[in-house]
């Protein structure tokens, strides 16, 4: 993307989110994440289903309270904010959700869905102003302004996802977490939505954390890519570097799973299977073994060791 990258907008340090599963066991959904995202950058986050990507995203937005760690937005630790300050902070951090069918309230009209954030933060002075802003947002995501009075069930998946994007943009956020925004969409629509996201990033100077499991799409949109496995980050590098020179066995295994659109190459492609690793994410609460540390193997390329 080569955009002008500024200072660190988001700094995540030692972030942990454990869920109690009973009998003294905890599910370490997110275990000791450390990374930063620069202003205007897109950080891709990949990993298999259930590896803690979405939980990480939701914890960073403080939709879940973290077990430990800190997330600094522009230098402010958001976990230390009072409820009223946190509410104000939410104007800067938004989220686009995975399932465009579940993420829109079926009883709201499109204008209520997009206008909700405006109402919560008293951002529209009058009804006319609110309407104008909603039409502006619909226009921004390429929807017809007549759609404002419609209900979500009247739209297709791609259109609904645009409504979700318009909703996230309503408060003029600086940082948006895209939680698998395209995985529920048809392939032809995926490109539309990704292009829209990229266009908006350029126009509005947004910073993205792009969570996905489609590796080629992540490579296309991200400046850097982080690979997660069982709640831990195992590798983090510039996207070109990561795809060219994967080091962690899990990354290698993941990349070997990408289908190649060339039948001859594809027939030669070998899946690299990872040899079984000790334990899963469910541990007893006091088990603190196996804390890998990230080591910088080349500038900007971090790998978890031991592996």
């Amino acid at each position: 993307m080569g955009a002008q990258l500024g200072k660190n907008l988001i700094e995540v340090e030692g972030l942990k989110k454990y869920f109690n599963v009973g009998k003294g066991k905890v599910l370490k959904a997110v275990d000791n994440l450390n990374f930063y995202i620069r202003e205007g950058e897109t950080l891709g986050m990949v990993g298999e289903s259930g590896c803690g990507k979405s939980t990480a995203g939701r914890t960073i937005l403080r939709l879940y309270e973290p077990t430990a760690g800190s997330v600094r937005f522009n230098g402010t630790d958001i976990y230390k904010l009072s409820p009223s300050k946190m509410k104000a902070m939410r104007r800067d951090m938004q989220m686009i959700f995975q399932d465009p069918y579940a993420s829109l309230n079926p009883r709201f009209t499109v204008s209520d869905i997009i206008g909700e954030a405006l109402d919560i933060h008293n951002m529209a002075g009058s009804r006319g102003e609110r309407k104008k802003r909603i039409e502006e947002l619909l226009d921004l995501v390429g929807l017809n302004t007549d759609h404002a009075t419609r209900y979500p069930h009247e739209f297709s998946g791609g259109q609904r996802q645009r409504i979700g994007i318009a909703r996230a943009l309503a408060v003029n956020p600086k940082f948006i977490i895209c939680d698998e925004p395209i995985s529920a969409l048809d392939v032809s629509i995926q490109a539309q939505v990704v292009n829209l996201l990229q266009e908006l990033q350029e126009r509005l100077g947004l910073t993205y954390l792009f969570i996905a499991h489609d590796l080629s799409m992540v490579k296309h949109i991200s400046d850097r890519v982080a690979v997660m496995y069982l709640g831990k980050m195992v590798e983090l590098a510039e996207s070109e570097e990561l795809y060219r020179n994967p080091i962690h066995p899990y990354t290698k295994s993941l990349l070997s799973a990408i289908p190649v659109p060339d039948p001859e190459v594809e027939s030669q492609r070998k899946r690299i299977l990872m040899t079984a690793e000790g334990g899963g994410p469910i541990r007893s609460a006091d088990d603190d073994s196996e804390q890998p540390t990230l080591v910088e193997v080349s500038p900007g390329h971090w790998v978890a060791t031991p592996y």
């Binding site: 939701r58 937005l61 939709l63 946190m86 509410k87 104000a88 939410r90 104007r91 951090m93 938004q94 989220m95 959700f97 995975q98 399932d99 579940a102 993420s103 829109l104 309230n105 079926p106 009883r107 009209t109 909700e116 954030a117 919560i120 933060h121 390429g142 929807l143 017809n144 007549d146 759609h147 009075t149 419609r150 209900y151 009247e154 259109q159 979700g164 909703r167 408060v171």
Partner: protein, 321 residues
Amino acid sequence: MANNNLTNKQPIPTLTAADFQPVDINQRESEAIKRESLSAWRDTWERLRSNKVAMGALIALFVIVLASLIGPVISHWVHGYNYKSNDLLATNQKPSGTHWFGTDDLGRDMFVRTWMGARISLTIGLAAALIDLLIGVIYGGIMGYFGGRVDTVMNKFSEILYAIPYLLVTILLLVVFKPSLGTIILALTITGWINMSWIVRGEILKLKSREYVLASRSMGAGTGRLLFRHLLPNASGPIIVTLTLSVPSAIFAESFLSFLGLGVQAPISSLGSMVENALTGWMYYPWRMLFPAVLISLIMLAFTLLGDGLRDALDPSLKNK
């Protein structure tokens, strides 16, 4: 087949570039929705309206409510009867022009008393259902929304309350306090709300993890907005169905208590107490039992059928079927 088609085919006219023209369709234009916009409530109403049984029940209920409101007035106006005026020279009369539903053993006009009784039954049924709704939604909403320990403790409490035989509590209450409209409603609601609270709890538990609720939270919405704008409106379907179906059970309970002599006290009539009164001479004066008994059955049947229809109309998975 394919061969036939090929041989019989007309020669294909040659096409030139001039035959083609770009169709300039504005993409926004093509996305315009022509269908009339329907809110969830309009949609529900349309589906309910196409359900003949439910509409029949709705009309029947409307007629019964109307009759219970104006029936006694008409009778008073035409004949000058009220629910306690009696004529000891005209006891146990058959239905006739002067006494449309006949008279009872004290010579009171059955027409007036039946509709007055329906009034009492409907009032008790609706009041009990609404109180159940109020308590059930608040209690169940708190259980479902806060979850965790709050949910466990509150749920255990309602389970314990539910375990006490309801009839025992009701009869005890009515023996201790003097039976009246208020105490009957109290007795019916003391455990009646539990069912509603469980329905609401289940719905809220299910809905609160939906992404649109999460989206609203990520925008900074507070508890009030989440509950009243997102959770309860989306739980309203099962709530309305439960409400509709709890009316006939309250009416039945009232009739039953009246039949046992624990209902509203004479001279006020209720459908249950009229049936009990008619029991002594039902072989000779069957109309004294027929009118109130048929009316109780009709009211209960209508509410049950309406509740069933509402369930179908509110369930989106049954859409377009």
